[in-house]
């Protein structure tokens, strides 16, 4: 997609094509778009001196907020809006909570009248790569450089945990604020293990050696959310990254030639294949969703489950008494050079459209979200870990996340799922096929290298890289 605004035309404004035949009706429907984007002399938001109102928010300007109404609900957002209204009582806030972000918000982008703040999350999020390469998003630099809500001496950036901005960074520019902090791991029930006298494995070889024992006890070693193979993502990539070091994963993200053929990636693929090949998957895993896989795990039908740090919290209502969640990290392959590598970082991307009608208000809304109070509300309401430092949270997910990412140097978030939708949609089913041993490791590698090569060669796809 071309990035020179000059040779672009505002959509729906061309009436020459059909104008002749349908002129009368066209007048209303193909009519020029009032706020037609592309006008790049857009109101820039700068950070002023006033720590109370650094973006110069017009107190009367309405604010348009869209929240993804998924696992976190929308109660926290209502509370954030109350905070905003405390500061700007005259501002009217228009609020939509929905699960269909793409279906409801994409047409508004297209029209050049997007909402001011969008929580672009869930299964129906608008692909971030498309939004970024279309230049539809505002950079978050003014927000990050602004004085933080609670302490004017610190910038917002300085109040954030390490690695939070990674997921929203595209070629060095931050376009989304990921508002929840997650880490991925492998879970087991420590009570089950101690009852049976099993030692939780740390290496892949130990794990594979334990599997027949677990199976003999009438328990399937593994299950996963078969309908959403995205749950295998981090398990697979961490296997490779731990073995070959983080550079292996960066090369994959950077579309380096033959990155998928790296011996560590091949070894990870073979390892994943061996689970299905050895018959170590719970029967039916491929046909279930995440809730079903988690329930099966809670009922000790399976011993290991790949999932994120939110799991204990998500299963509160279903988990039986005495079930003891314990994370063990992805069992690493022999010869791993970075066995502590963990996939962790921000999730739940909040974006501000460049054509937002109330840009200062949008920045201010995010600044309020990132205040101690705003983060506290979020962490307490949805029982999750926040991205803001120093917020005391009394919930399981926050404790688990903190425990998992004790060493920030080992933290890395693979990016291809944010950067290249085409690769993302290929990797998911491919991983599902692989763990069920319906495809060989070699075929899997060929398939992924193939789509990586296609992506690299496709000029219409904007490329992103990790800065070295």
């Amino acid at each position: 997609m071309s990035n020179t605004p000059a040779d672009r035309q505002a959509i729906f404004t061309r009436r020459n094509l059909f104008g002749a035949t349908a002129a009368g009706i066209a007048a209303t429907s193909l009519g020029a778009c009032a706020t037609s984007g592309g006008d790049d002399e857009q109101k820039e938001v700068t950070v002023g001196d006033d720590a109370e109102n650094p973006f110069g928010v017009d107190p009367k300007a309405p604010l348009d907020v869209v929240i993804f109404d998924g696992g976190f609900g929308n109660e926290y957002a209502v509370a954030h809006q109350a905070l905003y209204n405390e500061a700007f009582p005259d501002a009217e806030i228009e609020f939509l909570a929905t699960q269909a972000i793409a279906e409801t918000q994409q047409p508004r982008f297209a029209e050049g009248k997007p909402a001011d703040v969008i929580d672009n999350s869930g299964a129906q999020q608008i692909p971030m790569d498309a939004l970024v390469s279309d230049g539809e998003l505002a950079e978050l630099t003014p927000l990050l450089d602004a004085p933080s809500y609670d302490d004017p001496a610190l910038t917002v950036r300085e109040t954030l945990r390490d690695g939070v901005l990674e997921a929203g960074t595209f070629n060095g520019k931050v376009y989304s604020l990921n508002y929840v902090f997650n880490a991925w791991t492998i879970w087991y029930d420590s009570k089950l293990f101690s009852d049976n006298g099993w030692t939780p494995p740390t290496t892949w070889a130990e794990m594979m050696a334990l599997c027949p024992t677990i199976k003999a006890a009438g328990i399937a070693p593994w299950t996963y959310a078969g309908q959403h193979p995205v749950y295998l993502y981090d398990m697979f990539l961490m296997l490779a990254g731990r073995h070959g070091g983080v550079q292996v994963l960066k090369d994959i993200d950077n579309l380096v030639a033959d990155a998928w053929r790296h011996p560590s990636v091949v070894a990870a693929a073979e390892a994943l294949h061996s689970i299905g090949d050895g018959g170590f998957l719970l029967d039916g895993s491929a046909g279930i969703d995440h809730i079903q896989s988690q329930t099966a795990f809670n009922e000790n039908k399976a011993a290991f489950l790949p999932c994120g740090s939110w799991l204990p919290n998500e299963q509160k209502a279903i988990a039986p008494e005495g079930f003891a969640y314990a994370p063990m990290g992805v069992p690493y392959l022999d010869g791993s050079v970075q066995p502590g590598l963990i996939s962790a970082g921000g999730d739940e991307p909040f974006v501000i459209p460049k054509n937002a009608a109330n840009l200062p208000g949008a920045y201010e809304y995010l600044r309020i979200m990132l205040s101690q109070e705003g983060s506290q509300i979020f962490g307490d309401t949805v029982q999750a870990a926040t991205v803001v430092k120093g917020v005391e949270l009394d919930n399981e997910a926050a404790r688990m996340t903190d425990a998992l990412v004790s060493n920030p140097d080992d933290m890395f978030q693979p990016k291809l799922r944010y950067w290249y939708t085409t690769m993302d949609t290929e990797l998911r089913p491919a991983l599902g096929q692989l763990i069920n041993a319906e495809t060989s490791a070699a075929d899997f590698i060929d398939r992924m290298q193939g789509v990586a090569d296609e992506t690299a060669a496709d000029d219409s796809i904007e490329k992103f890289t990790h800065d070295e």
Binding site: I11, A22, I25, A110, Q227
Partner: protein, 307 residues
């Protein structure tokens, strides 16, 4: 009566045609326009790139070509099976019963069956999807069919029907047939009821059995209804997506095994940010459907039997 003819025609057509042109034709014309661009769908600017999208879509063996193949299968199987079952049930209900006082009758409980068979038709597709997803689930996870097969000692796909590449498409078609059969049963029943009874009774006297009776009398006289049903089912077949969206892994999986054209349009438009490409697929789908309808109307044209 020629007086005021044109004002009348105009007054009757203005509203429907105007509304139709404004909300259907024009948006589709714009969709065609969009298909000639590189518009992502989430921006308000684009470049014209000519027919590139059309060229590329026939090279897309990842989504588009498998989807065309699957849609093609549904297009053949769905009308065929639904109409066959609908006709069979309708014939049974109306003429499958005992012979009483020189007249053949329907089977007992015909009214009950009609009510039951028709019921899925009034369920919203969301309900149907939720329901059948569980029916097809793996045995370990309470699947009705896998459980029943296991109970009588028959092999069942270990991951259920929807997560198995071999069965997923058939499973989806099964649900489509399930929800459609009742409607066509009632539709064909009505048509059979309008066939004069004497024709059957004459056939009985000529010594015809029930099966020849079906092929020699019922089917030819129902030809118009069958043709209508065929067109209607074809349209449904081309539109199949919501069920796949609700039931299958990764909305078209596993690994693309139940990808259909409607789903691919949706994926490119909303998940890949390639609205222009999606529009091109839609335009191709439209012209394919149109030619299909024209052909089937031409081929299906038969001499009408008057009675």
């Amino acid at each position: 009566m020629r007086h005021g003819r044109y004002p009348f025609i105009l007054s009757f057509l203005a509203l429907p045609v105007g509304l139709y042109a404004w909300l259907v034709i024009l948006p589709f014309a714009q969709a065609f326009q969009i298909s000639l661009t590189d518009w992502s769908g989430s921006s308000n600017s684009f470049n014209y790139i000519g027919f590139d999208n059309y060229v590329n879509l026939f090279k897309d063996d990842r989504f588009v070509l498998p989807a065309l193949r699957n849609t093609g299968i549904i297009l053949v199987v769905l009308p065929l099976v639904t109409i066959a079952l609908g006709l069979f049930f309708a014939f049974m209900l109306n003429l499958g019963g005992k012979m009483r006082r020189g007249r053949i009758e329907g089977v007992r409980g015909a009214r009950f069956h009609k009510i039951v068979f028709f019921f899925p038709q009034v369920l919203s597709v969301a309900i149907v999807g939720i329901l059948w997803k569980q029916v097809y689930a793996p045995e370990n996870f309470g699947g009705l069919i896998t459980g029943a097969l296991g109970a009588v000692g028959l092999p069942a796909p270990v991951n259920g029907f929807l997560a198995d590449k071999r069965f997923v498409l058939a499973a989806v078609i099964g649900v489509l047939v399930w929800s459609a059969v009742g409607f066509y049963l009632v539709y064909f029943s009505s048509a059979i009821a309008s066939i004069p009874r004497d024709l059957y009774e004459a056939a009985i006297i000529d010594g015809a059995g029930r099966i020849p009776m079906f092929f020699k009398i019922t089917l030819p006289l129902l030809w118009d209804s069958v043709q209508t049903a065929w067109i209607y089912l074809s349209i449904i077949a081309l539109d199949v997506f919501v069920l796949i969206y609700l039931m299958t892994p990764e909305q078209g999986g596993p690994d693309g095994a139940s990808e259909v054209v409607g789903g691919v349009i949706w994926k490119y438009a909303f998940k890949h940010g390639e609205q222009a490409f999606a529009s091109a697929i839609g335009v191709v789908l439209f012209f394919a459907a149109l030619s299909l309808a024209v052909i089937s109307l031409r081929v299906g044209r038969r001499e009408r039997i008057e009675f």
